[in-house]
């Protein structure tokens, strides 16, 4: 069961030496932190490592949290920095997938793609697949805006950018996501025919 205390109250308790208060904070934010890390690094195991690392880093510098922004915004900025460092270290190819060959490879990557017709019809599933195909920055902006409930100003703070830049990037990310979703659904219709 999750704590009813606010993030600030849990932080105060953690700084007072109560480690279980921090465990509550982790439980509260782990899904979004993990999802955001996954949008950047694309591999579940790597995302788990990055997300875990973020919570440890956040714990270490919790006393430096000035409370000028939401705790989630501060935490997501750590995720962004950690994920970027991880990508730089691993030199993962982060190019967006444009050619059809790779596009089909990604579509086929989902385990029971050809087996479960009902599942294939799920638009949400295709939306997830389309997000997986986006550039890390685009996927992260979409996730922060829709999942993380962050405003354009907060996303700008997380990604260390101007609000105007984030606005343009969000527009482009949504356009690309729309295109990829359409391509995936078109591919599905062609397969059904």
């Amino acid at each position: 069961m999750q704590s009813k205390l606010t993030d600030i109250e849990l932080i105060a308790q953690t700084l007072g030496g109560n480690q279980s208060a921090y465990a509550d904070l982790v439980k509260r934010h782990q899904r979004f932190v993990f999802t955001l890390a996954l949008r950047f690094v694309k591999i579940r195991e790597d995302a788990e490592e990055v997300a875990q690392d973020c919570f440890v880093k956040a714990y270490r510098s919790l006393s430096n949290f000035q409370q000028q922004s939401k705790f989630s915004t501060w935490l997501y900025s750590i995720v962004y920095t950690s994920a970027m460092t991880h990508l730089r270290k691993k030199r993962v190819a982060t190019d967006s997938i444009h050619d059809d060959e790779t596009f089909i490879q990604v579509a086929d990557r989902s385990g029971s793609f050809d087996n479960n017709l009902a599942e294939r019809k799920s638009r949400s599933r295709y939306l997830h697949m389309a997000i997986e195909q986006l550039l890390p920055d685009d996927a992260a902006i979409i996730t922060l805006f829709y999942n993380g409930e962050q405003s354009l100003e907060e996303i700008a703070e997380v990604m260390n950018m101007e609000t105007g830049t984030v606005k343009v990037k969000l527009f482009r990310a949504r356009q690309r996501l729309k295109e990829k979703l359409e391509r995936l659904l078109k591919h599905e219709i062609n397969e059904l025919i």
Binding site: Y22, R31, V56, K167, L170, R174, L177, K178
Partner: protein
């Protein structure tokens, strides 16, 4: 970049000015094609909003807390010592040295030699040592030491033989 699409997204997000908002609202009502485009974007917006975040592994919180606990336990002792205690010890020693120096300087004669006579100490070393080795307690202590030394030598020799055999 489609300018009208950008405006429609701003309208949906509520990030446009009140004047722009009114203009777009009017255009949506008047222009059938624009209305369809708006409805499509709005549907996408709602779909994006319903995206479920991914689930981390079950033991995620436990793993994070274990890492933190391990880090806290590995914290060097130096970081755990109260700085106040160190300061107190330093002040004590500095004061002692200063007081001793003060005494020495105060007892110095004009030509630099110290006037103070040091107390003479007499040790009866010969008698004490000979008595020590005669006692039964000392004999037990020496016997115990010899046994320990033999045991340790035996362990060391066994280890050496085993290492030689495995090599």
């Amino acid at each position: 970049m489609s300018n009208i699409e950008e405006k429609l997204w701003a309208y949906i997000d509520g990030t446009c000015t009140p004047q722009e908002h009114d203009e777009i609202a009017q255009q949506i009502v008047q222009n059938e094609q624009l209305r369809l485009q708006y409805e499509e974007l709005l549907r996408l917006h709602q779909e994006f909003g319903q995206l479920e975040p991914d689930e981390p592994p079950m033991a995620f919180t436990y793993n994070v807390m274990e890492t933190i606990r391990a880090e806290t336990a590995l914290k060097p002792l130096k970081a755990g010592i109260n700085a106040g205690v160190i300061r107190f010890i330093s002040v004590f020693f500095i004061l002692t040295i200063v007081v001793l120096l003060g005494i020495v300087i105060a007892n110095m004669a004009g030509n630099g030699s110290i006037i103070h006579d040091a107390p003479s100490v007499h040790f009866n070393i010969d008698g004490t040592i000979s008595q020590l080795f005669k006692g039964p307690l000392m004999k037990c202590f020496v016997l115990f030491d010899v046994v320990i030394a033999l045991l340790l030598t035996d362990t060391w020799l066994r280890r050496r033989t085993r290492a030689a055999e495995s090599a």
